[in-house]
């Protein structure tokens, strides 16, 4: 332990394949955090728990790359903008219409659709939506009067494919189909072959008509979102959130939690243990009894109570985790301090009348630094998994998208029993990967600085 300089440690560390692997993974994670923090706008991270922000995303969509492995492509998410619009005067009735064109080439039905629009009108116009299918059939999708107004006013709305009126229209319109459509979802009726019920490929034209008895009624800023069944690199969850955003933001958060907790615990434990060992006698005895008590406290139940009764802020959580983290380190550094304080130079410093604090911080603690670094690396994974565990119980900070909270949401929506693997596998893999990086580094360092393990 003594006489191991930083340079010695690094020279030996370079020869450890495990240590190098750990460093490479860690560097990758740090790079990922930096890219996230600089490239992804901070709003996405604040908006993580705001459902309104995610409405134009598909629901529980698989990652887009699964299409590579599938014979028939799953539909990708498409946000359509009006391809043309026109106004006409039909003799007392004014018509404004816009069309959306969709070339549908997928082997599966879309997950739904949302028509979002903003209409400016006077009077009480009628909004009508029809779709012209590749087989030439035209289906009525929706026909609804807009709220009547006297003066010109704006009205904005989102029409979901789950609307019961849409379903009713489509069931009525599809009576010539070769199969029963009563229990099919709206998107499955629109996009199915009238004979076989299989998805029908080709060009679909959605037409929106606004009939009004006053002129100048028009629609602006409208989009037709065709919900995909695949989206992005990581897919989306039940709340339509793009999982890649949560996973990326989770990286700096996990690194922060892991490092803050372990550095805090190791520094506290080191100073506490060395002080107890250095002072000895009654001070040592009473400090070690207190250590015993904290050691025997059941950590998880207490963390749960602390999170529930005091606060689940991520910064306080770091503090709570430190309460239970310093104990083991304190025990080991005490016994190391007991050995070091009998060495000649410590006794010499004492005889020279050096203050206790100077002896502890200048002569004893530097000797323990290699051990401290190894301990920091080794205790990071436990900190990360414990925080993830608390988040998984729903006790995490709701303002931060941590990996544990993604898994909490997954568990709440029964993702495991429903087989939504893309919601479960990546966050856990990230937790494990981060833990592994530090385990590798820690084990490699420990093998160098811990004489007991040298063979």
């Amino acid at each position: 332990m003594s006489g191991v300089t930083a340079r010695d440690v690094w020279r030996e560390f370079r020869t450890s394949r495990m240590g190098i692997a750990g460093i490479i993974i860690l560097a990758g994670l740090i790079l990922m955090s930096l890219l996230t923090m600089s490239l992804i706008p901070l709003e996405t991270f604040r908006e993580w728990t705001n459902p309104a922000n995610w409405l134009s995303y598909p629901k529980t969509a698989l990652p887009a790359w699964v299409n590579v492995f599938l014979a028939e492509d799953m539909p990708e998410h498409q946000i359509l903008h009006a391809s043309g619009s026109e106004s006409a005067d039909l003799g007392g009735v004014y018509l404004y219409s816009e069309t959306f064109e969709l070339d549908y080439t997928y082997g599966d039905f879309p997950g739904g659709f949302i028509y979002e629009y903003e209409a400016e009108y006077a009077g009480a116009p009628l909004l009508e939506m029809t779709v012209l299918r590749p087989d030439g059939m035209r289906l009525d999708v929706l026909s609804r009067p807009l709220p009547p107004v006297r003066e010109t006013a704006m009205h904005s709305e989102r029409v979901f494919s789950t609307d019961s009126a849409i379903h009713k229209n489509l069931v009525l319109g599809s009576d010539s189909f070769g199969f029963e459509t009563d229990f099919l979802a709206a998107e499955s009726i629109i996009f199915s072959d009238a004979e076989s019920g299989e998805p029908l490929q080709g060009v679909y034209v959605f037409t929106i008509n606004l009939y009004g008895n006053e002129p100048d009624g028009h629609i602006s800023g409208s989009t037709l979102v065709i919900d995909g069944k695949v989206f992005g690199i990581m897919g989306t969850d039940e709340l339509r959130r793009d999982l890649v955003v949560g996973l990326l933001w989770g990286t700096p958060l996990a690194l922060f939690i892991g490092l803050a907790v372990s550095i805090g615990s190791v520094v506290t434990g080191l100073v506490y243990g060395v002080y107890a060992g250095y002072r000895g006698k009654m001070v040592d005895e009473s400090m070690m009894r207190f250590n015993d008590i904290v050691y025997a406290l059941p950590a998880l139940p207490f963390l749960v109570i602390l999170a529930v009764t005091i606060s689940n802020s991520i910064f306080l959580m770091v503090g709570f985790l430190m309460i239970f983290g310093w104990v083991g380190i304190a025990k080991v550094s005490r016994s190391m301090a007991l050995q070091i304080k009998t060495r000649g130079y410590v006794e010499a410093a004492q005889m020279m009348g050096q203050k206790h604090s100077v002896i502890i911080f200048r002569h004893i603690i530097p000797q323990l630094l290699p051990y401290a670094f190894a301990s920091i690396a080794i205790s990071v994974p436990a900190a990360i998994t414990t925080e993830a565990g608390l988040s998984f119980l729903g006790l995490g900070d709701p303002l931060f998208p941590t990996w544990g909270s993604i898994l909490y949401d997954a568990n709440t929506y029964g993702a495991a029993a429903r087989g939504l693997w893309w919601w479960i596998v990546p966050p856990g893999m990230m937790i494990a990967l981060t833990g592994l990086a530090f385990v590798f580094i820690g084990n490699a360092l420990d093998a160098i600085v811990n004489p007991r393990l040298r063979r």
Partner: protein
């Protein structure tokens, strides 16, 4: 210091810990507890008045009636001693004494499966299931771990050794509950072999209940064992490597005793003390983790009870469950300490 004094000092420390835990728990939930108890009294008084016919009509004005109600509530609060805060010596003493004699009171929201609201009944119903799951898991983990550890410890650098060691390192950074979710995806969704929820659907008095319980236990059990045995095997391996370098092993080998016998009889016997000690400790450690593991699988044990109590803030259950969990935790630490002291005389004679 003899073994007796060693035991006595450990008992004293652990009893101190138990008291500190209780005090901390009460301190953390105490202020909420006061509010809930007072609200409970108010609700009770209003209900009683509503159920006394003619009482409300006998008052001349609404103010008089309200005054009567608030007076009654105040009197009741005084009678129950709730006018003093939870940290007053009497109430703190009373709460601690009650819990010490295992009188946990009644739950605010939760009930046991048989319908009892007594916290003691609820815990008595859940505790055996947690013990069943985690003791079985620990036994299986230690059996696999000791066998694999002895095997790889006796052949350092072999394929078995390298696989065991890397498995131990890798599995230690996976959260148990996450592996549980993966196994649910695999075995309850992809191949429908085991149920995703570990609570049996048939009532507890059905003759098939035990079978159903064991069947539902399989998936959580596999999860805990899968994540646990690697670390164990690694630990046993390291002890074995140490013991196998001792002179007496060389002596046995040169005497011509078969290699297998040397490893499993002589070497393992000498590596036993630390192994047994850590076994007791790991059992207690897994009890804490039960809160999350049971939440994933919906296993009807103490962990899920604790989680449910936290979600609805059922304070008597929280206090009772913390006490029982701590007590179990401490008992296993105590057993570990005693075993350690028994096996290693240096511990009790030191200082």
């Amino acid at each position: 210091m003899g073994l007796k004094r060693y035991v006595a000092s450990r008992v004293a420390t652990l009893f101190g810990v138990l008291m500190v835990t209780l005090l901390l728990t009460i301190a953390l939930v105490g202020s909420n507890m006061d509010i809930i108890l007072k609200q409970g009294v108010a609700v009770q008084v209003r209900e009683e008045i509503a159920h006394t016919p003619g009482l409300a009509a006998s008052f001349e004005s609404v103010e008089d009636f309200e005054k009567y109600v608030s007076d009654t509530i105040q009197r009741r609060i005084l009678e129950l001693g709730l006018d003093e805060p939870w940290y007053s010596p009497q109430r703190l003493g009373l709460s601690m004494y009650k819990i010490l004699v295992l009188d946990f009171g009644y739950a605010t929201f939760l009930t046991s499966d048989s319908g009892s609201a007594a916290v003691g009944d609820i815990i008595a119903e859940k505790l055996p299931k947690t013990i069943l799951l985690f003791t079985t898991a620990t036994v299986i983990i230690s059996l696999i771990g000791i066998f694999l550890g002895a095997l790889s410890g006796s052949k350092v650098g072999s394929v078995v050794d390298r696989i065991t060691s890397s498995f131990a390192v890798v599995s230690s950074s996976f959260p148990v509950w996450w592996v549980g979710m993966l196994l649910i995806v695999l075995f309850a969704f992809a191949w429908e072999i085991f149920p995703a929820r570990a609570t049996p659907t048939i009532p507890a008095d059905d003759p098939g209940y035990v079978g159903a319980l064991l069947y539902h236990m399989t998936l959580p059990l596999i999860t805990i064992v899968l994540i646990g045995f690697g670390a164990w095997a690694y630990l046993v391996r390291n002890f074995m490597v140490g013991v196998l370098q001792d002179d007496f092993i060389f002596a046995k080998k040169t005497m011509g005793i078969p290699r297998r016998r040397v490893i499993y009889k002589h070497a393992l016997k000498n590596a036993a003390p630390p192994i047994v000690t850590i076994l007791a400790l790991s059992l207690s450690g897994s009890l804490g983790g039960a809160i999350i593991t049971e939440a994933v699988f919906d296993w009807p044990g103490m962990g899920r009870l604790y989680f449910e109590a936290i979600t609805v803030m059922d304070l008597p259950v929280i206090i009772g469950a913390t006490y029982v969990l701590t007590a179990f935790f401490l008992i296993s630490i105590f057993i570990a300490d005693i075993l350690y002291g028994y096996f290693d005389p240096r511990v009790r004679t030191a200082q």
